[in-house]
Symmetry: C2
Amino acid sequence: MEFIMRGFIWRSSGVACAVLALSACATVSGKPSAQSLEKKNTEVVIAFTEMVFTKHQVAEAFKTYVGPTYKQHNPVVPDGIEAGVRGLTALTTVRQPEMYQEVKRTIAQGDLVLIHSRHIRNAEDKANGRGQSLMDIFRLENGKIVEHWDVVQEIPEKSANTNTMF
Amino acid sequence: MEFIMRGFIWRSSGVACAVLALSACATVSGKPSAQSLEKKNTEVVIAFTEMVFTKHQVAEAFKTYVGPTYKQHNPVVPDGIEAGVRGLTALTTVRQPEMYQEVKRTIAQGDLVLIHSRHIRNAEDKANGRGQSLMDIFRLENGKIVEHWDVVQEIPEKSANTNTMF
């Protein structure tokens, strides 16, 4: 409707034609806001995982980037925010205090963001260039993380190709 | 599109504005073609993985959906098309002839498509509701698959939550 109303204005003004063009853009593609949402969601996921796995500020990361609920699909972690904070705090302070992640690539569409990363757990992983390959998917609502799936695999000592797992 | 037609009818020079509106769409957002590309790439990846893992038509799947090169990051498979066909043919005919996949979700952005799926390898996996959780990323060029990364994890018997790995 806005398009038509602006179209009427254009009859007497060339400037309005440019406005009309921009309005049509939003109407025809319908996607500019989706693209900026995906970009913002990706930034949230990178910031969250780096704050957890590299900076080890787990409680702060959940407070900043996780929504009111957190549905967990990782089978070794109980559901919910409290269990997530507890499990990742134990991981990054007690079990693997030297750990950090290297983000290799992300893929975002709609409310989902995939992050493919290498986890270096200790000096041995760093020295031998291995560690774990992880793909984590996060679902976001209103700019906050609310759901998590992952698949984790140990990087083997020998590979059938020279391309690495990344 | 309807409003542009109305613009054309409604004023003799309205057609120029309609052209401007469509041009602005492509210029300002720059993404309509990217979105249709992502949709098409996703269709290719789903068709390819279903043809390989459920229909077990490996050579046909590579012939139809894989490009002139195939860069392999799975550490147990050598690089290239020939090794991919050989490895997946052995997997789906000799080692796991009963296998099939369930596609759980996809995420596409740019030239990458992520597919999260459950692999049911045999009657035992089917009966106990487990099998493997896989996240595969494919990179496409000109509508054909040219690169592959994956992470594979056994679905455990017991989980700390009731959400499943999917």
